[in-house]
Subunit: 114 residues, 2 copies
DNA sequence: CATTCAAATGAACACCTGTTCATATGAAAG
DNA sequence: CTTTCATATGAACAGGTGTTCATTTGAATG
């Protein structure tokens, strides 16, 4: 009398699965969007390119906190920056960022309609 | 001599920003995707509906760990389940989940091409 | 109703993450 | 070269998160 057997099903599922490395990268990517501060920064940058102190003013948070998060976002290639004198302007790295956020936003709004 | 002034820009940006509640919900949503175990579960479920023990076998993790994560995913309305005797089968709650993951996946693959 | 198997739950613990505070870098201006 | 302003960075700390272990629930079966 054996336990519940899934070997057949599981080997089929396993085939179509991306590698663990890939899935880990994917989770890492989404984790970047999974913090309120970072989400607010990303949304702000989707409206306009902004310098660090403007963002910290906008969000009512310390310059240090913003700077740390911008580093995280930059390391994850979600934002990029350019320097102009003492000021550093940040902006979204590409349209994917916007699209990912939009997809999430849609999910939320449609969820509410139910 | 005043500091850098952004009031005009900031009030414009502020107008187009969703409420903080909304942005927090959005971050909460993405946070669900931001863990390797949950991502592996979601991807597996995008291939087939699976019971808890099948998932734990597939991922090589304890039933308890999987069960805890499934609860998180269910509370976040990313997955749903149906019971059949002693067995509980989990599946993706809707197509949005797949689309969000796909969007992220695309981002990763296109990033590599550069 | 006792047993068995699948799943869920709670407490505990180690690890990770985000913020703060203090300080450093780096560019422009005096 | 010193000062000033914008930004970056490092250490430290608090709170959150994921896993494990032990236990419980709940359905089917003898």
């Amino acid at each position: 009398m054996k336990k519940h057997d899934h070997t057949a099903l599981l080997s089929r599922v396993r085939e179509d699965l991306p590698t663990d490395d890939r899935l880990c990268d994917l989770a890492d990517l989404f984790r970047l969007f999974g913090d309120t501060t970072r989400m607010r920064i990303l949304y702000a940058l989707s409206e306009a390119e902004l310098c660090v102190c403007a963002i910290s003013e906008l969000l009512g948070m310390t310059q240090s906190a913003i700077s740390h998060q911008l580093k995280v976002l930059k390391d994850g290639d979600l934002v990029a920056c350019r320097r102009e004198g003492k000021t550093v302007y940040y902006f979204l790295a590409d349209d994917h960022v916007r699209r990912i956020i939009d997809q999430g936003y849609e999910h939320l709004t449609e969820e509410k309609e139910l």
